[in-house]
Amino acid sequence: ERSNLAGVRHILLVLSGKGGVGKSTIATELALSLRHSGKKVGILDVDLCGPSIPRMFKVQDNDVHQCDSGWVPVFVDQDKSISLMSIGFLLEKPDDAVVWRGPKKNALIKQFVADVAWGELDFLIVDTPPGTSDEHISTVEALRPYKPLGAILVTTPQAVSVGDVRRELTFCKKTGLRVLGIVENMSGFVCPHCSECTNIFSKGGGEELAKHAGVPFLGSVPLDPQLSQSLEEGRDFIQEFPKSSAFPALTHIAQQILDGTSPQSS
């Protein structure tokens, strides 16, 4: 029997040691960018306590249906080039807290990995909660037979964030997960009124960490109110705001992923 992940060409995880640095944002924008390059993308949201992905695509009110091979992922539009799975779709009320200990979370993650009928995908992006615990251990274990491409680690520039992401790098090393690179998010803010750039969350920590750890630095994404607004409204930032400040960095990240997975690359 063919597994539900047999048609998925590349699996990549978005990780961070730290909360609130923008994992879901990066996962979402990466999916949108890859879609704009003609790829079919799925996002598996394994943040069970704080599932952000459905709202970022304005499908938070959708239901999940079953088919013979398992759960049918939620398509974000008629185009069917981006599909999602998240516990967000399974909650009766959106404000319901998922107050589960590890074993119950692990069981659902196993199901999410094995029982979603993704069909043919170029990329499956796995968005994770912050940390190095049950969800991460279970996700990596469940994905191991399918040989994930690797992980993108997201940090903000300050030392307090970088400190946690260093630990996430150790997690990757210990679990044999290849690090595709580090993204430094919330890296500077250009005032729309006077164009002065302020490093609200400091500067450079992500790039330094990448150098220190010997992993690729995928780029710095600036704070961009238009990006925040797009995510709030479930809009396609890549399609609608190509002149916005975060656009170049976000598309550059996607391009590096594409370059790394093209037939010519080793």
């Binding site: 590890g102 912050p130 946690d164 630990r167 709030e232």
Partner: protein, 233 residues
């Protein structure tokens, strides 16, 4: 006399923020000694038990719970006025355990932090529901990263826009106190990274004023609780 307990086992940020990176925990006859920032501020965190900044704590729930239990049982805090517990994001093992283990004593309540956007509020509503479920009183909500004033032109930008009314609207709807809003200030991150007290370093910042007002409201809440308890006794 204040104790700060960091139960974010995977991402312990408190040691760095307090300027205590590299400190170790000492054992004595009476248990583990907290690491003191000042005579009246003691700190405990898994960060002090790790030998390298690259050490990852890759533990499942039960092991994390075990350490939290030890922190509560084996640390010799002495007589304290306030025990503040910093938690990781979510509604999971750490949160269940800390409430469970502290149930024999009295928890004044929880301060819940959000940023202004709906993406944050939607998770915070879940956290509020968690508190209701486990009967943890809510002292109030703080809206963090609430607006940014450009240091050059002084215009305000809403970097994290409150598209659904921010914490204010949510608090109104749920009948919870909004303790205050803290604006973005690059000095906050800088102070935390250097392990310095932002309140002492930048006393004139609007963020400092916000923090102080919030802290005062928390103290007032706790004083009122204490007063009400005394009345009952």
């Amino acid at each position: 006399q204040v104790a700060l307990l960091d139960i974010d086992i995977c991402g312990p940020s408190i040691p760095k923020m307090m300027g205590l990176e590299g400190e170790q925990v000492h054992q004595s006859g009476s248990g583990w000694s907290p690491v003191y920032v000042e005579e009246n501020l003691g700190v405990m965190s898994v960060g002090f038990l790790l030998s390298s900044p690259d050490d990852a704590v890759i533990w499942r729930g039960p092991k994390k719970n075990g350490l939290i239990k030890q922190f509560l049982r084996d640390v010799d805090w002495g007589e304290i006025d306030y025990l503040i517990v910093d938690t990781p994001p979510g509604t999971s093992d750490e949160h269940l355990s800390i409430v469970q283990y502290l149930s024999a004593t009295h928890i004044d309540g929880a301060v819940i932090i959000t940023t202004p956007q709906e993406v944050s509020l939607q998770d915070v509503r879940k956290e509020i529901n968690f508190c209701h479920k486990v009967k943890l009183p809510i002292i109030g909500v703080v809206e963090n990263m609430s607006g940014f004033i450009c240091p050059k032109c002084k215009n305000e930008s809403q970097i994290f826009p409150p598209t659904t009314g921010g914490a204010e609207k949510m608090c109104q709807a749920l009948n919870i106190s909004l303790l205050g809003k803290v604006p973005l200030d690059p000095q906050i991150g800088k102070s935390c990274d250097k392990g310095q007290s932002f309140l002492s370093e930048v006393p004139e910042s609007p963020a400092t004023l916000s923090y102080r007002s919030i802290i005062q409201r928390v103290q007032e809440y706790c004083d009122l609780q204490h007063f009400q308890e005394e009345k009952i006794i």
